[in-house]
């Protein structure tokens, strides 16, 4: 196994995630795509951890943190989506032009 194969795979996943984030209209699906990106990050962490043979397993631990934060993010994100949906009867991102004054 070489390190590159994992990193490239991660990159592919990340790119797909970016693609999803940018193209999806539905907010839930946007969040879903973000998860893809996080998964890619995890792959990188673990791959580098293996590569570095870190005795403290820092890469793995950070991937765990990522998982935790990711879960929190999904929770918050979905809550926001829910709130928006409740107020606007839609979860489509393109209708969310709140940031426009």
């Amino acid at each position: 196994m070489i390190l590159g194969q994992f990193i490239i795979l991660g990159a592919a996943l990340f790119s797909l995630g970016v693609y999803g984030v940018l193209t999806r209209r539905n907010a839930v699906l946007v969040l879903l795509s973000v998860e893809l990106m996080l998964a890619a990050v995890n792959i990188n962490f673990v791959a580098f951890d293996t590569y570095a043979r870190d005795v403290t397993a820092g890469g793995q631990i950070f991937s765990l943190f990522v998982i935790a934060v990711g879960a929190a993010e999904v929770g918050i994100g979905l809550a926001i989506v829910l709130l928006i949906f409740r107020n606007r009867e839609s979860a489509n991102v393109d209708e969310l032009d709140l940031m426009k004054l």
């Binding site: 996943l13 797909l16 631990i61 989506v81």
Partner: protein, 195 residues
């Protein structure tokens, strides 16, 4: 490359990576919301398998538990609550123009990383190195205990935030200054009204 292919783990890698990428692809392009989520499951499961391959068992199972077990369910709930259309739906994604732009950007990103990696690491070999969970625990509560605490605060914040955001505030509609949750939602409503 030949000896790359002679290693069994690499075949395993291929067997994992292929569904992974395919799943990710379908996940971001599927026209059915639920399918999209299910494809994500495949991707995540594959990533867990990948971690196993790399000897990171604890992370692998955490992924399975947290992501496949909890997050996915959360997504499904989100879909149902927001009444996302469950059947085939063409309107899930933006126009082709946006898609093109996005594809360009993400493609460029991929290309950039690939180049960078190949340039940087070349054919650096790595060896699977199973890590015991106890080591993870040891490390986490000794070396990384501060980050761990920080994460816990983040989780707490998320917890509280989730509750604050998602619950229906019983406060009267007009009373926007009494509490910020109310103010926020009232604010959103006001904004919505303007839009």
């Amino acid at each position: 490359m030949n000896d790359w292919l002679t290693q069994a783990e690499n075949w395993a890698f291929i067997l994992i990576a292929l569904p992974m990428v395919l799943g990710a692809w379908r996940s971001v392009t599927s026209r059915n919301v639920v399918h999209s989520v299910l494809f994500l499951v495949i991707t995540l499961a594959a990533s867990a398998a990948l971690f196993l391959l790399l000897g990171a068992e604890f992370v692998a199972w955490s992924v399975v538990l947290v992501y496949i077990g909890a997050v996915i369910v959360l997504f499904l709930f989100g879909i149902m609550i927001t009444r996302a259309p469950l059947g085939m739906e063409t309107e899930l994604s933006h126009s082709n123009q946006t898609k093109l732009g996005a594809a360009l950007v993400s493609g460029a990103l991929f290309a950039l990383i690939t180049v960078a990696v190949i340039t940087g690491f070349g054919e650096t070999e790595i060896v699977s190195n199973p890590t015991r969970t106890s080591e993870i625990g040891q490390s986490m509560f000794e070396r990384f205990v501060i980050p761990f605490e920080v994460v816990s605060v983040v989780l707490l914040a998320a917890l509280i935030g989730g509750i604050v955001l998602a619950r229906r505030d019983p406060a009267e509609p007009g009373d926007s200054s009494s509490s910020l949750g109310g103010a926020q939602s009232a604010h959103v409503t006001a904004e919505g009204g303007e839009a």
